[in-house]
Amino acid sequence: MVAPLQSSDKEVPQPVILNPLPTPTAAPPRWYWSLPYAAVTLFIATMAALLWLTHRQDAEEQRATLINDVLWMEQNLSFQFERNDAQLSQLGPNLLTGNDVHSPNEGTTQARLKRALDPESGLIRILWLDAGGKVKGAEPPYTESHLVGETTDVFPSSAAYRLSRTLGRPVYSDAYAVIDNQTHFEVHVPIFEGGRYVGSVVGVYSVNEMLARQVPWWFSERYRVSITNNLGTEIAARSKVSPVSTLAYEIPFEPPGHGLNLVITACKAKGGWISLLLMSSLGVLAAAIVWSLWQLRRHMQRRQAAEQALGSEHAFRKAMEDSLNTGMRARDMQGRITYVNPAFCRMVGWSAEELVGLMPPMPYWAPEALDRTYEVHSMILGGNAPSQGVEIRLMRRDGERFDALLIEAPLIDANSRQIGWMGSMVDVSDQKRTQELARQQQERLQATARLVTMGEMASTLAHELNQPLAAISSYNTGCLNMIEHGDLSQTELTGVLHKIGKQAQRAGQIIRRVHAFVRRSEPKFETVDLDAIIRESVGLVEPDAERRGVAIDLDLAEALPPILADPVMIEQVAVNLIRNGMDAMSSTPRSERRLQLTTREHEGMLIFTVADRGQGIPPEVAEKLFAPFFTTKEEGMGMGLNICRSIAELHRGRLAFEARPGGGTIFNFSLPVTQS
């Protein structure tokens, strides 16, 4: 009956703490709680009723048995009395007609007497009276010393003697007390011989002896047998146990009669004790059940309260997680996803149902960055994730790539055991895109500024040069006009020619000024480490490379000797060559966009090599590649490689290119090692 309560108490193994709690069912109605109590009460009542019924039935049965036994007992006694009566009446003629009991021919009579006085018979003494009522003899002989009080006058009972003589059949006397707290009674058996009364044979019974002899042991174990006189006083009793039970039966003790009653009291039955034990254990059990129920209820209430608290806490946390813009993802120790929050789902485009339970590789891992993602994954599972997070490229369901900042923390369960990893993921692609955009804008702005400056410079230069040239031209035309018209004036002509010369000088000065301007950007040589410059250059172009999906393989020779160079210029060349390489691969399949950068020492030169997998350089382009203002790019100015070569020459180095086996171009930028 307590089964439904027990089941709720059972420990259900919780999968992971992060799994959503089962929605708590509505609180059970009030009566739900009283149900077990009602059941217990009903149970106890039924049991009590059953016990009572059994008890009653037992009592009935006991009573019936008692009555049966009593009747049997009475029957037994009556039978014994009758037998005694018969024996006494048989003895009578012998005793009364014989002269003396002790005569020799009385042998058989003696034997009979003895037999009649057998302890089993209940008789303790036999007397025989003559017709006059006088005691003729007694066996065993007696004195009157055993008689007490007034009974001395009535032994043997004259009333019984007269009545038996009159009636001509055995008559029993009153019971009378004798010494030793004994009670005796007599039976007077009249003896007739030839229709003449010859005397009586009196048998004396001891009530106590009789009870002792006539009640069998088994009977006395069950019952207390007692005999009461007409005053209700108990005169003899036989019992081995104390009678506790109120169950008793009383019948008149016939044939003695005279108000003697045979009282049989049932001893306390063993069954009663058992039923009491049963009853009490039942009571204890019921109490225990009620108590445990109450305890259970208290426990349940506490549990319910705790559940409710947990539920609201869970709801609170869930609302918190759902409102987050940060993706949350939990994994177990094997890397299986055990939980994702809605922001994470929004980020990657897969639903929580689809993601939970998945093992790596995850569907949102970008295929091209699989190696690195695996690396990060094993790093996290190994517990070596950097605390500031790690940036990794992922893929949305629609194939769009995005950069995510991943921060992992160990997931500890209630037993302080690590059961996995909890990761928060922030989509930083927007941020990166903004940065990249800003950088590009900056770059474009600078390029534009450079262009504007260069354009302005060129324009100013053109205008400035135009002025003296135009003046010269005009002077010249004027002179020609004069010559044509014939009105030539020598002085005038001389003056104009001087002016022409002056303007030509002016033009020369302008050109000298330009040269001086160019000379202002002279290189500043210092001892530099080529590898460091290359690394710095790669750092500069890396965001751009990532944006274009170009992988840069850096293979730098270690411990290169230093070179004497202008680091800014060398960096300019490196960046230019790397950019060109990336530009060359804009139509190359994404998976093949690898730019190989190497440095090495060769015959006193340090060689920096940039190898792309682009279309290669057609011969007609190759001829003009280093020419100024030649470009294959839409936005190009055609100065890049030209400047690069100028820088190379300035450093007494070389810039050359060759076709790359397997497609693409290799640019070699060599610089002489510093002679120390």
Partner: protein, 205 residues
């Protein structure tokens, strides 16, 4: 030497002295009188509405640009033809100026005699315009002498109506129309309706 109404000049506005001097010399060899101005500001300060001739304006100058100078001249009602000298890349600007009424533009480097040819054409154009303006001024003076009635009659004569029709329309006698007509001819200094029409035709070359 202050420019008078009678003398047409080619006004050279350029901030480069050599250019000014060279152009002046060039113009002189083709018998074109010129005046040179070192800046647009100087030119605008000296400018008078009754000047004759043309303006050779360099677009790119240090202070006020040629275009700004041109706009200022337009505002002041300048009638002198303006020839722009443009450098490389200033062509769109020059075209814009042309649409606003500039006479012509020449891109540097230019053929110097071609410039002189343009200047001479501009001077002629200015001279014609001047003459035209004078005639217009005369006609206006003549018209002012006519009475309102005479003007009414003249308008009707100009559209080619006969005296009879004019008399009917104005509700006067034919005789009166004839009197008015002869007085209009007399006052306007013409002998026939055709001459009158020619005199009053707008935009006469």
């Amino acid at each position: 030497m202050s420019p008078s109404l009678a003398t047409p000049f080619a006004h050279i506005v350029d901030d480069d002295e050599a250019i000014r001097d060279a152009l002046s010399w060039l113009f002189r060899t083709r018998k074109v009188e010129s005046r040179a101005w070192p800046s647009a500001e100087d030119f605008l300060a000296a400018w008078r509405p009754d000047w004759r001739g043309c303006i050779v304006l360099d677009i790119r100058m240090r202070e006020m640009s040629g275009l700004e100078c041109f706009d200022a001249l337009l505002e002041r009602g300048n009638t002198l033809p303006v020839i722009f000298l443009t450098g490389h890349g200033d062509v769109p600007m020059a075209v814009g100026a042309l649409k606003k009424g500039a006479f012509d533009f020449l891109e540097k480097p230019f053929d110097d005699n071609a410039l002189v040819d343009v200047v001479i054409r501009a001077l002629e154009s200015n001279a014609r315009r001047q003459a035209n303006q004078e005639t217009q001024a005369n006609v206006a003076g003549l018209l002012a002498q006519l009475t309102p009635r005479e003007q009414e009659v003249m308008q009707l004569v100009l559209v080619g109506k006969f005296n009879k029709v004019i008399a009917d329309e104005l509700n006067i006698s034919m005789r009166t129309v004839e009197v008015h007509r002869s007085r209009v001819f007399e006052k306007m200094g013409v002998r026939s309706a055709v001459e009158l029409a020619q005199l009053l035709a707008p935009g006469r070359d």
